[in-house]
Subunit: 218 residues, 4 copies
């Protein structure tokens, strides 16, 4: 692999700062985590977006969250067809091997992936329809959600985008329940599911409340 | 989606603490990030493992890193077959839409996914060979790496595991180069690839150095 | 301009080293910064003093800080009289064109400019009172601060100097608020102001806490 | 000064990393610098632009460079009129108090200040002509340079901008020689002047060679 380069100096410097402070202060705990293995209480599925900081928002330290991040925090439906399913593998590992107690889907405002889905579905981004578009094929997972948002006849794209971002959280929660091991753990009270959406600019956080079928401030 | 539950109180409390402190201190920047969009300098692909803290290790704040996390920080080869490819979608978005300058694969010690692959390949975990095992099918990506590690005849499982964890970083870097848009960006000097491996207990960090075909301390 | 000389060899050599290492490792990012323009998160106003290393203290790389450095890190009051106001131009550019989110005044120990002000104001450096003294006229900005420090009746010059160095940070923060565009951005929550003072020898860092009207360790 | 805020957490963290590494490794030297005062070999006048990293390019550590940074690295002519002249104060302090041996003007590509001057002078940015525009009034220093560049009839704005950026270096060098203490130090061989221009994206560095009246690679 001749293309690999050394780490840029600014990251080396920051890593050394981390090692001399955070690591040094927590060495005993980190060694124990290494020797005894992880035992995270929750799994979080969030977007790759650089503006979403799961650990910061929840004051989480090493060992607390098993975190999967993908484009638009989506979970596909259960498809045991033998193909590579990266997201399904993370859910399977978290629920069956780590036995996490909480599984949180965290959506967010200004999501580029959701916006891409909106444009693909309303015909303004035909390039995303192509077979070769990985983002487009990934966002296909959200197509059923788009149909529901489209039926709401929301006047502005901003409102449509926000509605689809929240729908992405719901679609993922619903898809999660199609995994037999997830449904079983939920039914046996060993796992609880949570749907969240955060506004990056305002720092607000909402959760899905099934009784009202809407998102409310935490 | 009747199964969703409110956020556990301990997370609500921590979120409120974050909002009153970190968010409050950085509101101007977070609003600007929301209005103007993200412009991350680097993409990091790391493991979901709760013991790996990318942002902490690199002193990174919101807006700096586009982060994909999956089981064992793997990148599959380029397969534009129209299926859902979550990891490929993240790479496509980072390289073609966000035009990140660095793409970092961050492996780590005591990786449960890599250990699963080792056991699957050496015959001690036949359940991972099943079609219905998402983790098994995902770890298939690392099978070519296992063959190479097996040929090394390393005496202990600890050594085999470490070798396979590092091989996972290399296999991912090699697979990245099979994506036409990655190869193009690398060749044009717009993107640099980096392979890292961290020891969770020791807090050490190594990078892949092609000239020696080995990992060296940063 | 016949007086210009080639760069001294030791700097040519170091530049070539930088180009072969740091530049080479970060070429993609530097090219992108050049093509897309800067988007610094913060502006820092610090002293020209060779012992103050803003980027080093904050682990900052190219593109992070818009930096103005002058004698004693002073900001003059708002004076739109059509004259050359170098410092005011930097603040105007940072706040109105770049829309930075943080504006940090960084004072420091053993500041030669502040010491000059102390001596000028207590009568021991009459040459700084002359119209032709650029340093004296520049330090006039800090005269109101001297009056306050003088009223404290601090016993030693060391204590007076330290008090005046911190007062310089406060005077600059207050003068910043006389610029309409700064006041507006602060009031709208788009900009936050920060006052810092660092001890060069001890490597300590203090920030101004309005609730106690004093500097406290960060 | 009720508006001051604590330092954002990400900078506190990075500062603590610096203190535990760089400071800790260099404590003896930093203490000596604090006790004995600075003795920089050179003064550098560069732009505030976040993409210009003087200390990085020249591998400079604390104590080496007395650094003034303003919009477009300009030096105004000698005007001992009793007003605040921040830049003149820095030059006076460096040359008469610190007696630096080298005075370097460092210009750069894609300079926003120089671009503003170009647009102001060619009539496309009338707002910069207003008395209240600090950036406009500051860039007035470069008007004589614009006249010369305009006479070159360069076909594209890119070429005009580059020519004006280099002219800004020359105008500053010429203005430096109008300061009696600079001219004297240069004539007595105690100070040498240097004009540099760096291309941010390409990492190249050129110096002004009087014998050819042009910039050449170092």
């Amino acid at each position: 692999m001749k293309h690999a380069k050394p780490l840029p100096g600014y990251l080396v410097q920051r890593y050394e700062g981390w090692r001399a402070t955070t690591y040094s202060e927590n060495q005993a705990w980190y060694r124990r985590l290494a020797n005894e293995g992880q035992r995270p209480r929750a799994m979080v599925i969030s977007c790759c977006d650089s503006r979403v900081h799961v650990t910061s928002i929840f004051g989480a330290d090493q060992g607390e969250f098993f975190i999967h991040r993908n484009v638009a925090n989506l979970v596909p439906p259960y498809e045991p067809d033998g193909d590579h399913h990266g997201t399904s593998a993370t859910v399977e590992y978290a629920v069956t091997a780590l036995k996490v107690s909480h599984l949180i889907i965290l959506g967010h405002s200004s999501c580029g992936g959701v916006q891409g889905c909106l444009h693909m579905c309303n015909g303004t981004a035909p390039e995303l329809e192509e077979t070769t578009s990985f983002v487009g094929r990934w966002m296909d997972i959200l197509r059923p959600g788009y149909a529901q948002v489209d039926a709401m006849n929301l006047p502005t794209e901003t409102e449509q985008l926000r509605a689809l971002e929240k729908k992405a959280v719901l679609v993922s929660l619903e898809n999660l329940m199609t995994f037999p091991f997830v449904a079983k753990a939920v039914e046996e009270g060993e796992l609880s599911l949570h749907g969240l959406w955060t506004d990056i600019g305002e720092g607000s956080l909402e959760y899905y409340a099934p009784e009202d079928d809407s998102f409310k401030p935490v």
